[in-house]
Amino acid sequence: MTNIAAPNAALHLPEPDDSRMAEGAAPYRFLTGLFQRQTWREFLYHFAALLLAPFGFAYAVATVSLGASLAVTVVGLVVAAALIAAARYWGTVQRSLAASLLQQHVAEPVPFRPKPGFFGFIRSGLADSAGWRAIAHQSVSFVVSVTAFCVSITFFATGLGAMTHWIWYRYLPLQQAADGSWHRGAQLGMDYYIDTPPRQLLFAAIGAVFLWLLWPALNHGFARLQAVLAAGLLGPTAASLRLRDVEHSRNRTVEDADARLRRIERDLHDGTQAQLVAIAMKLGDARDRLSGQETAPEVAHLLESAHGTAKDALVDLRDLARGIHPPVLNDGLAPALETLAAQSPVRTSLVLNIAARPAPAVEATAYFCAMELVTNAVKHARAEQIRISVRTAGNRLQLHVGDDGRGGAVLSRPAPSGHRSGLAGLAERVAAVDGTLHIESPAGGPTNVTIDLPLDPERP
């Protein structure tokens, strides 16, 4: 995939972990590399990476070849999409390995979020950049892991062997040189045997250079290469992070708006509504007390009219407050929809199958959609029967509202004046929490509207 982030992409994340990435790996010191713990951890990493590499590579090859050959069928596309998305697990394994042994903390990519529906899943899977990048990482790191292991283990073994030659040479068999002399010791080139003390010393010195200086440096170099690969291919891309930030802030906006509406409703309830009730009550009391007595008819009339106005205001205010945020929604979608169905002027059936409680903003969205759709069915479609059903499946919530009215509902674009139809408003509301709206309303009816919402837009 093309979106390969710079290795420091993880630094964009506001998580506190990220600082560790910079300071976690102690600076490598050339002269004392052999005695740094980090060197040995990296050595261990090369072993572990070699063990993983064939499997990861086989997975990458299988995904590409199987996916390509199966792609001609729909089932094949599903398999390919699933394999690509599941490659993220290899990324997870490699990230944790890099974190524990290389001190390279790579942030997780943005979670896989398939679009709803069968083809949505296929599209999302095939285009999953984190999955593709994990596959690319498996392929590249296969080569790097094998090379790194071979080089590192060769230099390590050579250095150690040469340094300790003066101990173990005595167990070597005797060899006869071309001139007929017998030697016991490693043979380097034609008739050059390490069997004299100066040569032993020189050989040990060369071994020491290998083990002390060359091996740790190469070992570390390959480890850094692996770390850079992991950071570059297994972390989130800058673009996906930006997208996630945008989604975060949008969800916050939706939640803020929802919370603000709740607060307004509460303020109305605690303040204005209570005051109006008190006024109406006192006016009623005054009227009752005056009724038996001799009063000017104008006063009685004034009182009566003030009383009536206060009561009308109460009814208006109640409808207004309910429209802002029905308080019963605080108890959940089920009781709110039950009340909605009970208040509907036409026969309204309700089927609820809610396994998990959605986020407040989603509950509010579902409720107001149901309310708007019921109003439409009654007002515009002249329906005689409305069916509302809500069910949760996995992390989605599906709201379905159907009526037997005359249909013809269309999702029109907003007029130039900025005026929107009710359905366009619904579509906007649904889109704000990452949901989808599907309308089926042929002229003559019936109308069926299906709305699909995530249970929690923050954790799709």
């Binding site: 509460r266 309830h269 605690d270 509504q273 209570a274 005051q275 009730v277 008190a278 109406a280 009550m281 006192k282 006016l283 009623g284 009391d285 009752d288 009383h307 206060a310 009561k311 109460l314 009814v315 109640r318 407050a321 309910r322 029905p326 308080p327 019963v328 605080n330 108890d331 009781p335 039950e338 009340t339 169905a341 009970a342 208040q343 509907s344 002027p345 026969r347 309204t348 059936s349």
Partner: protein
């Protein structure tokens, strides 16, 4: 009457207390949350408790829970649940077990002071009081309820008035019927709703409940 009030709005609480005291009733307690109400009733049992549905801490259904608790611990204390909105589910919960001596009214009803005080009296005497708005809502959607859709319009009207807690005489007056005709309608309602013969009041309550437990 001795009356306890639980209402979190100070202005309404004080107004109610003043109003009822002005009409010669004694306010045993005027508190702002459910826990305080239960304590106050335990200390001195009133004839009727007026309970706001939404009270601290969560402002959802504290009042309903307090009312049900009161019914359990003090069955002889009448309870009037007081609400800003009509929520059928709350009403159904309230009337599910012992609907006698229980009421559910919109707060607006205090504006008609005399009829409000009258409702309190009826609750005190073990009657059931349902807000006309609740009844109207239930009647509108009553077609969905099993049994209720077989009622004639007249029987529906009678049931509606029964649900408001009216007596046969009051129903007869309201609908300009004879007492005998009301009696006949009620018998027909019981029959259609499948309510077996039992003491009359009990069956009346069951018929009303039929509305709520759809």
């Amino acid at each position: 009457m001795r009356i306890a009030i639980a209402e979190d709005s100070a202005i309404l609480r004080a107004g109610l207390a003043e109003l009822l005291a002005g009409r010669g009733h004694r306010i045993t307690a005027a508190v702002s949350d459910a826990a305080a109400l239960l304590e106050a009733v335990a200390a001195e049992a009133p004839d009727v408790a007026i309970v706001d549905i939404r009270m601290p801490p969560t402002h959802t259904d504290e009042g309903i829970r307090a009312a049900l608790e009161l019914r359990r611990t003090h069955p002889d204390v009448g309870v009037l649940v007081f609400s800003q909105y009509v929520e059928t589910r709350y009403a159904a919960r309230l009337f599910a077990d012992h609907p006698a001596g229980v009421g559910y009214l919109l707060k607006d009803r205090v504006a008609e002071v005399s009829s409000f005080v009258d409702s309190l009296e009826r609750i005190r005497h073990g009657e059931t009081v349902l807000d006309p708005e609740v009844v109207a809502q239930l009647m509108r959607s009553s077609g969905q309820h099993r049994g209720l859709d077989t009622l004639t319009p007249r029987e529906g009207q009678v049931l509606e008035l029964m649900a408001e807690g009216r007596t046969n005489v009051a129903i007869a007056e309201h609908l300009f019927l004879s007492a005998g005709a009301v009696e006949k309608n009620i018998t027909a309602i019981f029959g259609k709703l499948g309510l077996a013969a039992a003491p009359g009041d009990h069956r009346r309550v069951l018929a009303v409940l039929k509305y709520l437990q759809a």
